[in-house]
């Protein structure tokens, strides 16, 4: 029997009818029209399905859709501030080669967003620690870290600008 789940999805109020045994990941991809979040393993081992749930990064494959009644969820599709403007993370992942095949990319970017929200000036070690649950098989992580570091720096510059 389906459950009716109201929630905020990328800033929009939505109501989804979901089977009790459906994961949030499958629901996003199949019912909510948001296929940007990827399924790499479906059991929480790879981080490709990372979304931000009530401000915290989680593996959406291990959350039931039925559990997120009245929650706020942000996926990769909800990251850019405007249809014609990208988030600095997105700009820098492109610029620094942080994305190759791109399959891990939405999950890594959302984890990076959560990291920078909590720690705007992370060291390299802190970045590596934060994305330890995101598997990338293409980049060796070097350029992912470059992209995140550059973003931290860009955001700091912006904050300074605004402060002035």
């Amino acid at each position: 029997m389906k459950h009716l789940i109201p929630l905020m999805l990328n800033g929009e109020a939505r109501e989804l009818a979901v089977e009790p045994y459906r994961s949030l990941l499958d629901t996003l991809r199949n019912e909510a029209g948001l296929s940007g979040t990827k399924k790499g393993c479906d059991v929480g081992d790879c981080g490709a399905c990372t979304v931000i749930l009530d401000g915290k990064p989680v593996n959406s494959c291990l959350v039931l859709a039925a559990e997120v009644r009245n929650c706020e969820i942000v996926t990769i599709e909800g990251l850019q501030p405007a249809p014609d403007r990208l988030h600095p993370l997105q700009e820098n992942f492109m610029k620094y080669g942080g994305a190759q095949c791109g399959f891990c990319t939405p999950g890594v970017i959302m984890m990076a967003k959560a990291l920078l929200d909590e720690n705007p000036n992370p060291t390299e070690d802190e970045i590596r620690f934060a994305i330890a649950g995101n598997i990338c098989r293409c980049t060796g992580y070097s350029k992912i870290i470059d992209a995140i570091r550059a973003t931290a720096s860009d955001l700091a510059d912006r904050a300074e600008e605004t402060a002035r």
């Binding site: 081992d45 850019q80 990208l86 492109m94 080669g97 590596r128 060796g140 350029k143």
Partner: protein, 767 residues
């Protein structure tokens, strides 16, 4: 030549969709009425299917189609593309009445929900008659061993042994002052791409099949589906948009493409079949495990006088790319370090274990591991520094490469020299001696070479069509697959550079076999080299047509014109110019030009080179090895996109570190069951395990055949990093490992033996 587009890291054409989540991968596709397909997999390694009964499954509400060997076409096929080529094996049926490895697909269902499809699998009744099984190469080669395939040369061989002979090894060994001999053993790493295998199939009312698929070889898939399903090629259309990695393995078909098409046909609805992560192990392709016995003779001054090797690879239950991997891996040993006298023999053997197939490095990972580690061993015995010994013997201009062609340039020597400078190698090696405490550090280096293209094993062909639109923008049509490496961006850069237009004005159409020119697929590091050259040729044709048209307009000879940044001007004369748009566009009474060029390139061969310098740390109390620093030096002729090239190198290093230290897909040798088909226990290096990498790219040996001199880069780093790590471990703790992966237990065991002064069986040395 001062280039404006090639050589810069332009914004890749494919990454916008990836960072916004808009990029469509095959598994993102939802079609109306789409069903979900699942495969039932065997729980026994070698057995006949006595009886298989799908009645209860079909009766489950929501199930729309079920397939067993009894209702699928029985056509023996290659499983892999490259039909009728030397690379692959014709030994698969869509579903057989026999299983040959634990986890092989025996039935498939399509249902309205994934959960129902899974429940339906449980309702399929299979009665197996178990057969004796061979889980190791030794068991498979024993007289009287169970025969796994009726096809092929027999005796559980995938192909007749590959034999490569040059010169006279007997004479060479006789001339040697010292001989090194050893057996090297390789484990079973797998590609573990992040996107599990997935396909979607739909039939149109007029019998045309459309397949959305994550594959590196769309045209090959089209060809083999048509062949096995009995369709003309125009009735099969394969679409590949974005792919989440392949690393060579996704050159094969994985059983599910055929099953998906047949389920869609039977149910008259579109069907999606997506592998679970576990299935990417069970039904996927790993690297060939195996052994390399290697013997080399050296003169006192380090010259190699003879090289003899016997390579034995474990194919798993089906042949897949066994022939190609065995041939390429074996032939590779004719080279890298110069030797006039070689005798090489390579075999590939069936066992009742998961299938080995194509994986980045393709046999050369295995054979060069043995070769480079043995060079280090020989250096020790000769009292020479390993970098010096390798430099002395490094293959160079004029030497005959494994393909039979002469090597161009001195790329390998350049890499070794640059690396020894960069690391202050000789100083480093002296420092390492004085260490105390349980933590030891060491430096090692490893070399490799790899061809850009599968020639001569496959007579490949790159095709491209370039057309210029009426506003001066350009479209490149290419069949080249996009694994996510940035290859399409590189092709666009080449076209832009050749034509003289801006990179932003070139778009790439790919991935639809109905539209783009035929392409063999993305593998063998040949896309930039082969398709790039074809694209350059096609662009050159368009350029000629364009300049002819512009010559009229500018009243100058076409030969005096040049194009840069989309502007055509007369060389040396300022003020006399028009834009490409103006040249092409319509004018009063004259229609717009329709400029199309096509290029076909049959590559021969070029080789890229690399030398990796690696620092490791070994905890002698826990046996754990950590790679702390990697400096890879790669010579690739001409870099098209520096960041993408470095990305390929760094990604290959992650996989190579995994090969050496933690990645091994294990099988229970008592019953063939997979022991670690998951990311929990198949351990890849993650962000905290990866070292800083300082990538250095050289362009000192450009290829005459490549676009602007470019050569391939995709496979080199995964080959060089392995021996570099093994050699560094030896530098750190004085223990020589001749296998991978190296586990902490083995490190502790080896340290114990070293301290006891006892010698273990695999360190015999003949002299």
């Amino acid at each position: 030549m001062n280039m404006s587009v090639v050589g810069t890291s332009v914004k890749r054409t494919d990454t916008l969709g990836k960072v916004t989540g808009q990029a469509m991968y095959a598994g993102d596709l939802i079609l109306p009425g789409m069903l979900h397909g699942k495969i039932k997999r065997s729980t026994v390694a070698h057995a006949k299917i006595k009886r298989i009964d799908a009645g209860k499954a079909l009766a489950l509400p929501g199930v729309k189609a079920v397939l067993t060997y009894e209702n699928v076409p029985r056509v023996l096929h290659y499983g892999s593309p490259h039909p009728r080529s030397a690379s692959v094996t014709k030994d698969q049926y869509i579903l057989d009445n026999k299983v040959r490895y634990w986890g092989e697909g025996v039935a498939a269902v399509a249902a309205t929900m994934e959960e129902i499809a899974e429940e339906a699998l449980d309702l399929i009744d299979v009665e197996y008659e178990e057969l004796p099984a061979a889980f190791t190469v030794e068991e498979a080669l024993r007289p009287g061993a169970p025969l796994i395939h009726e096809t092929g040369p027999g005796a559980n061989l995938v192909l007749d042994p590959v034999v490569v002979i040059r010169g006279d090894v007997a004479r060479g060994f006789a001339e040697a002052d010292c001989i090194s001999e050893g057996e090297y053993e390789m484990g079973r790493p797998t590609p573990a791409y992040m996107e599990p295998n997935v396909c979607v199939c739909r039939w149109d009312g007029d019998g045309k099949l459309t397949v959305w698929l994550s594959t590196q070889t769309a045209f090959m898939v089209r060809g083999i589906l048509a062949e096995v399903l009995g369709l003309p090629l125009r009735s099969v259309r394969v679409l590949v948009d974005h792919m989440g990695g392949g690393f060579g393995a996704k050159q094969d078909l994985f059983q599910h493409e055929f099953l998906c098409a047949l389920l869609a046909q039977q149910s008259k609805r579109p069907v999606r079949m997506e592998f679970s992560r576990k299935e990417t192990f069970l039904g996927g392709r790993s690297r060939h495990p195996g052994k390399v016995w290697l013997k080399q003779g050296f003169k006192k001054d380090g010259t190699i006088t003879a090289r003899q090797a016997r390579i034995t690879l474990n194919s798993g239950a089906y042949g897949s790319h066994g022939p190609g991997v065995t041939s390429v891996g074996t032939a590779a040993l004719t080279s890298l370090y110069r030797c006039d006298n070689v005798h090489l023999e390579g075999r590939c053997v069936y066992t009742n274990t998961p299938i080995a197939g194509a994986f980045r490095g393709y046999g050369v990972v295995q054979t060069y591991y043995a070769l480079d580690v043995q060079m280090d061993e020989a250096a020790e015995r000769l009292g020479m520094d390993p970098a010096d010994l390798k430099l002395k013997n490094a293959v160079r201009e004029g030497d005959i490469a494994p393909s039979g062609h002469p090597v161009e340039g001195h790329g390998l020597e350049d890499c070794i020299r640059r690396g020894t400078e960069e690391t202050r190698w000789h100083e480093l090696r002296r420092q390492a001696r004085d260490q105390a405490g349980p933590v030891r550090r060491g430096w090692g280096m490893g070399c490799e070479m790899h061809g850009s293209s599968a020639y001569p094993g496959i007579k490949e062909q790159g095709n491209a069509i370039v057309k210029m639109n009426e506003d001066g923008t350009v479209t490149l049509l290419t069949g080249a697959g996009g694994l996510g490496t940035g290859a399409h961006t590189a092709l666009a850069q080449i076209v832009a550079e050749e034509l003289g237009v801006r990179f932003e004005d070139v778009s790439v159409v790919h991935g639809d076999t109905d539209v783009v020119p035929w392409d063999i697929g993305a593998f063998a590091s040949h896309t930039t080299f082969m398709v790039g050259r074809a694209a350059q040729m096609a662009a050159a044709e368009v350029k000629k047509q364009l300049l002819d048209r512009a010559a009229d307009r500018l009243e100058a000879a076409a030969g005096d014109l040049e194009i840069r940044d989309g502007v055509i001007s007369v060389r040396g004369v300022s003020g006399y110019k028009i834009t490409v748009h103006e040249a092409v566009g319509p004018q009063k009474g004259i229609p717009a030009a329709h400029l199309v060029g096509s290029g076909t390139y049959h590559p021969t061969k070029s080789y890229s080179f690399a030398a990796h310098f690696v620092q490791v740390k070994v905890d002698t109390e826990t046996g754990q090895i950590e790679v702390e620093n990697v400096i890879p030096i790669h010579e690739i002729g001409k870099v098209i996109h520096p960041i993408a090239a470095a990305g390929q190198i760094e990604g290959g290093i992650q996989q190579g570190i995994g090969h050496m230290l933690t990645e091994d897909y294990l099988v229970d040798l008592s019953n063939g069951r997979s022991l670690n088909p998951s990311f929990v226990d198949y351990k890849m290096p993650l962000s905290m395990d990866m070292p800083p990498i300082k990538t250095i790219i050289l362009e000192t040996a450009p290829s005459a055949g490549g676009p602007f001199g470019a050569k391939g880069v995709g496979e080199d780093s995964i080959i060089a990093i392995g021996p570099a790590i093994a050699n560094a471990v030896h530098d750190a703790i004085g223990v020589r490992f001749r296998h991978y992966p190296i586990t902490p237990e083995q490190v502790l065991q080896a340290l114990r033996e070293k301290n006891d002064g006892s010698s273990s069986a695999d360190r015999r040395q003949a002299s």
